[in-house]
């Protein structure tokens, strides 16, 4: 694995226990995230990407269950090694001080009966109970100024803010304590394009300024292309491909990534785009071998029988495919 990795995950299996059986949302995967980068995780709905970062953040509530896996988090040169079955609660100690989580944008993430400044003060007091109102306010004002958010937001109630402004407030909440890792799960879904761009740019700026790590999950390939440094593509609970964003979008090597990117319409290009035939498999009973083989035009007998391992085919470019495309 890489030298400057901040998160290293191995053997991770997280299933949803349901009446019909186990939904194998994340099935035996391992990867690493480098420090000081924006790491994107993408894939279609139900590929396990949201489950994955929930598990990474330690939000494990029934019916979700982690069967195996370990993660080591390297914060300020202190390595924290955790086994999921035993030490989940140790992750929670890092919450918000060392790592934070931006949930899917919703109109409803802020307490409707408290002013924005009070919600910030509450967070700052979590670190130091003696923080006075005045001190806390100063810290928040400074960070608002830096992000270009109007100060009058602080004395407002959430219902007085627009959806985009609320999500910007949420992001500044997630970064006010300067955590080393910020997870974001579809942070701009349901927002308008212009607002979406503004928020993504704000996140990128925050990351560049404080040199921390952002892990962004989104199904929108366009967003990944615009802001992530490296991208991981998931399919049916497995990793297909990890690599530098530009590389992935220019010359993807996994057939799924390639077909997916080819199917996306682009502005200024009317040439025919085709969907990938078929549909993603049911994760209650995923197919044997490569999980994409049913929809893959390049599949061979080997793909049906055996599961391709994730291998580094180029420097820092990982692919799980027996027949990677040139």
């Amino acid at each position: 694995m890489s030298e400057n990795s901040i998160i290293e995950v191995g053997d991770l299996k997280a299933y949803y226990k349901t009446r019909h059986g186990d939904v194998k949302a994340v099935d035996d995967i391992g990867f690493f995230v480098k420090s000081n980068e924006i790491f994107g995780i993408c894939g279609e709905s139900g590929c396990g990407k949201s489950t994955l970062i929930k598990v990474l953040y330690g939000l494990i509530e029934p019916p979700l269950k982690v069967l195996s896996g370990h993660v080591s988090i390297d914060i300020n040169d202190k390595k924290i090694f955790l086994k999921y079955n035993n030490d989940v609660n140790n992750i929670k100690k890092l919450w918000w001080n060392e790592m934070s989580y931006i949930p899917q944008s919703s109109m409803n993430l802020l307490n409707p009966t408290a002013k924005i400044e009070d919600q910030f003060i509450e967070i700052l007091r979590k670190v130091d109970k003696r923080t006075t109102r005045g001190e806390a306010k100063k810290i928040v004002q400074k960070s608002f100024d830096a992000l270009g958010l109007p100060r009058e937001v602080l004395s407002s109630y959430p219902h007085q803010l627009s959806g985009g402004m609320r999500q910007r407030v949420v992001i500044s909440m997630a970064t006010i304590l300067n955590p080393k890792i910020v997870y974001a799960d579809e942070p701009t879904t349901a927002l308008d394009v212009v607002v979406q761009r503004g928020i993504l740019e704000m996140m990128r700026e925050l990351q560049r300024k404080s040199n921390n790590t952002f892990v962004i999950v989104t199904h929108d390939m366009g967003i990944q292309y615009q802001i992530s440094d490296r991208v991981m593509v998931m399919y049916a609970g497995k990793i297909c491909e990890i690599g530098k964003t530009d590389k992935i979008f220019q010359t993807s090597t996994h057939p799924y990534t390639k077909l997916l990117i080819e199917s996306l319409p682009r502005l200024g290009d009317k040439s025919e785009r085709r969907s990938i035939k078929g549909a993603p498999p049911n994760l209650l009973a995923p197919p044997k071998g490569c999980r994409f083989h049913i929809r893959c035009p390049y599949a061979t007998q080997e793909c049906i029988e055996e599961e391709p391992p994730l291998v580094e085919i180029l420097h820092e470019h990982y692919v799980a495919c027996f027949h990677p495309l040139g």
Binding site: L110, T113, I123
Partner: protein, 350 residues
Amino acid sequence: MGDTKLWGINSLRAFVKYLVRRIVLYVIALWAGLTICFFLPRLVPIDPVTVILSRVTATGAFIDPETYANMRKTLLYLFGLEGSIQEQYFNFLSKAIVGDFGVSITVYPSKVNDLIAKALPWTIGLLATMALISWVIGNIVGLLAGYYKNKIMAKAVQIFAIAVYPIPYYVLAIIFVFVFCYLLRIFPLFGSKGVGFKVSFSLDFISSVIFHSFLPALTLFIVNLGWWILSMRALTINLSEEDYVKFAEMRGTEKKIILNKYIFRNALLPQITQLTMAISTIFSGAVLTEFIFSYPGLGQLLWMAVSSSDIYLLMGITSLSIISVTTSALIVDLVYPLLDPRVRYEERHV
């Protein structure tokens, strides 16, 4: 920010509209209630004047026709039965508004207001205290039972609330009478003041009042408590699923803060609305409870009126109930917007 005020004015205008609508509703409900009060007795063939006069003649005293006619006239005046039905109606309404409900038949010539004035403090004292105490305690218990819904204690509380809430006030009152007054003989059965006590501020008097009003208070408390626990628990469970509570939990926020600032504060407003809707039920429950415990409030008075067909007393009590229930609901509804920041603060949209 030239036109940020636009929204402010808009919502202020909307708020005024809400107030006006609410007050109009109040006036009409009041008027409709009082009108029913006025017309119902007139649909039933009992003539109060004849009832009183026959009571006088029944004593055997001789009354000459002229005196008899005079008495009749006076009684008609006192009972507001002079003139056409319209005149009587407007007369009744104008008097009811200032709280004048005429003269009682049973304890003639006591004025109905005086009788009510004597009973009312007892009822209000009992009802308001108990409604408030059970609201506060029920909300706290319900909050905890909802947030820790999987704990055994919480389940026990839930079973208690489900078992207690559907019991009507008077049935619980009967059970308490049976257990405490008959089986255990701890509490007296009649009246809130021991015989011979006069209203005063002595310690004896106060302790006696508390002693005598304990069981009616307990009845009101327990039934109301069940209701507030159930509705607060349901609210808490719903609110715990809200995105902002989940987000606070994700931040590792202390449970104490989540319970207080995130759930309790947000549950309070709907609980206040519930209180408005419950006022009428609590009131009638209190009246019935008082009756069972012979507590000298409106309940006792109502029973007296019912058992002696004292129409004017009955009309007085009914009108007063309507006035007080609708008014208290109005007050809560008017206070409510002041507590809700979504109404208190104009839309700003920054």
